[in-house]
Subunit: 478 residues, 2 copies
């Protein structure tokens, strides 16, 4: 069996078993490993490098909008968690409790943060006195813990890495504008950096965040037709602020309650990237986030001049993330590994190429090969990386669009739910009972009320037949 075949055989094809394909990829591409701590994963160097690149790119975008980073405690005292009723109901069942510290039972147990609204409110209460102290636009990069029963790499684990932004504003309008702004930052990031098209929209009351008055979401479409919520932005109104007693003296010299938002993206987004771009040979990394953008593989590397030519190519590409794989393994193994790890561009250079003053460039996404003159490699590769990004986005967008199906009747809805993986576009009366019935009948949930699609495809709710209020994208979801 060839080296390449061996490595490719290591992953199940996605047509055979999508869930297994996904699990195989995260393991074989060495993104994660399982740990002795049930439900908690180890993020290995290849996986963590993706998160570092995501962090750097998103953090730059955040700071351009005035975000400042802070760090809040890992623990939340039980009494603090309980101040906002909806919030504690939403999170209490899935938290981990610290009850002992320094050899003693604690007087009050502490939960390991599942999210930090409560801590930020407690902090803001102390530092917001006047309208001059507003807005506060803080964010933290940290890990959070939610005691999930079933877990899957990146998609759902008991501990995960994320960023959580928490802001306070003078007016309701400003808070709403920030909520929308951050969802757009997420959608732009997904499009421009991860080559990931998303549907932007508003969650229904049933699906919104515990304690929020509005939750906005970006929903991505996986290869298997399931949706993945990839980022959310919440407007809390003044509910939390009232519960935590946060007030400020306004421009009118009277006391007011500020308006609050929060927004988060987690390592889940890596799962989305895998399930949108990956193929049966492994990962396909979007070029702007790839820890290695170009791998140069010398052929017959012991022949005179080959390694030198490879190094020279690498130097000419030094503004990119480039590496020469001069390890002691066969070219076939190296090719398979590049494909498994999803590095966007591979350059092959051997004695024959050098003789001809050229090299072979192969892109990961389409497997197309190009013979390129050595002195043209730099410009070719720089352009190719952009082309790959754009093509990956277009293919993903095509798949997304082809995965949207209209349902005007409940029979159509159920038929699509059973037979056509993707989003179901259907009208809804606004009643949570219909959402619940749909979920029970089909396992489909409302994904969002889309921002960019306002067409009313019928007058009546697809479920109950009463007057429709909203167009909703429905779908099975991770």
């Amino acid at each position: 069996m060839s080296d390449k075949k061996k490595m490719v055989d290591a992953i199940t094809s996605m047509e055979e078993d999508f869930a297994q394909w996904y699990t195989d990829i995260v393991k074989q591409a060495e993104l994660i490993d399982y740990s002795s701590v049930k439900g908690c994963l180890i993020i290995k160097p290849a996986g963590y490098a993706l998160w570092e690149n995501i962090q750097a790119d998103m953090d730059r975008r955040f700071k351009e909008t005035g975000v400042e980073n802070v760090y809040m405690p890992l623990f939340i005292p039980e009494s603090l968690l309980q101040k906002e009723k909806d919030h504690v109901e939403g999170f209490a069942p899935e938290v981990a409790w610290v009850t002992m510290g320094g050899g003693q039972e604690l007087e009050e147990r502490l939960c390991v943060r599942p999210t930090s609204e409560t801590l930020f409110c407690d902090f803001y209460k102390n530092i917001i006195q006047s309208y001059r102290d507003l807005p506060k636009v803080y964010n933290q990069w940290c890990s959070v813990v939610r005691w999930e029963k079933t877990t899957r790499p990146f998609l759902r684990s008991r501990e995960f890495l994320w960023q959580e932004g928490h802001t306070m504003h003078e007016t309701a309008e400003e808070a709403e504008a920030r909520t929308v702004q951050m969802l757009n930052v997420y959608a732009d990031f997904c499009r421009e950096t991860l080559a990931l098209p998303t549907i932007r929209g508003k969650k229904t009351d049933k699906e919104k965040f515990a304690g929020a008055i509005a939750t906005y979401t970006i929903e991505a479409m996986m290869h298997d037709g399931k949706a993945l919520q990839s980022g959310t932005s919440h407007n809390f109104g003044d509910g939390f602020a009232k519960a935590y007693g946060i007030q400020f003296t306004g421009r009118d010299n009277k006391l007011h309650t500020p308006h609050q938002t929060s927004w988060g993206v987690s390592t889940r987004i890596i799962g989305a990237m895998i399930m949108v771009h990956g193929d049966n040979d492994g990962l396909v990394l979007p070029p702007r986030i790839a820890p290695t953008q170009v791998v140069i593989i010398p052929i017959q590397q012991r022949k005179e001049g080959v390694l030198e030519a490879a190094e020279k190519l690498a130097e000419s590409l030094s503004e990119l993330k480039v590496k020469v794989d001069d390890s002691d393994r066969s070219p076939g193994f190296k090719f398979a590994e590049q494909e498994m790890r999803g590095f966007p561009v591979r350059i092959e250079i051997g004695p024959k190429d050098i003789e001809q003053g050229s090299c072979v460039i192969c892109r990961r996404d389409t497997r197309e090969k190009y013979t390129v003159k050595l002195d043209e490699v730099h410009d070719f590769v720089v352009k190719l990386l952009d082309t790959i990004h754009n093509d990956m986005y277009e293919r993903a967008e095509k798949h997304l669009k082809e995965s949207i199906f209209d349902a005007k009747t409940y029979d159509e809805f159920k038929d699509i739910a059973d037979n056509k993986p993707g989003f179901i576009r259907a009208m809804w009366c606004g009643d949570t009972a219909c959402e619940e019935k749909i979920k029970e009948d089909t396992t489909v949930t409302s994904r969002c009320l889309p921002w960019d699609d306002t067409e009313e495809i019928s007058d009546t709710c697809v479920c109950c037949g009463k007057k429709a209020k909203h167009l909703v994208y429905w779908g099975k979801a991770y």
Copy 2:
């Protein structure tokens, strides 16, 4: 009272009460805030920006030596923690335990990581089979929890941020070389980035890390004559690896146990920076780590052309971290704030300056002022930032050197301990009993066996009078 006086009055002078001076600075410079979680602090934007800059600089240095970043779980199962006897004895008394999750009592309690040797060992056991898998040079940036009784901002808190590197090597020599290499990375970082001189050396057996065969340390000298351990690097030998059953097939085709190191620097280093460089007007930030390197303060900013001139100056300095303070507050307030926050360079520009084609540049560290032609500002400031860095280092080094006192007899030792804040340079027999007696008599502890100072100042142990084995730097410490 002037704005400036008000702000300066907000901090106690260090001569009056050093501890209070420190606490006042971290609060007034808005580095930290207290939280409702006892012993845990909030790191505010000005404090977190320092940590971000420290992270970026250190992470670049790490990666240049081949370090790869990973992320390990926050929790350690009790059974895993207990496998290495010395380690669990060292840490068990100060850990926090999670006993409940998802509404249920856990079958096995989990400690919140105080450090992650045990998790890394458990991971390495799975991924190290052959000498080809070595070395592993992994690091993580995370928070850890140690249930301290008394806490102080940055210096000691129940949760703190740090990096912990954990490496595995084929040979004892390679592990020792990595241990030394990382201590040097820390010392170089302190000198080149924080303008912080340190004493490099080896810890005594009594002071070394729980489970290590050797601990190396960098020790800095604070304004008050106390030492601060600012970074440590540990050689574990094969003790942990044996306890966790990690073995690899060597080049000789036989089974071997790998050799391990770990090394860490925490947010404590921010405390060192404050206590080495700060003065009675506030923080003095080393230029290479300052979130704002240059603040431009317009004088009579409503007069025509003033703000424009300030912005033009800022543009000419755009490769630096520069900001124009055009807020609605008096110049006096802004000057005092710049001093409190420790921004290295202040530029004042008003109508008179503009008329003369110049501006006033004031450095934070010495308060020296320079009148500089507008078209010379760029080169002047770039050079000044380097000068400030070098001068800060030199002053700190002078203070460090002047704070080292020799003791040949125990009476001299006790006299210095009582009357001369700083390091005590004295010979030691190597016996832990002498260390313990010295600590009991004087509260002084052994800081390190210095690498760069091998002079034997006497033949006999300063405590017991027996034959001396080592020169030791002793001191009171944070």
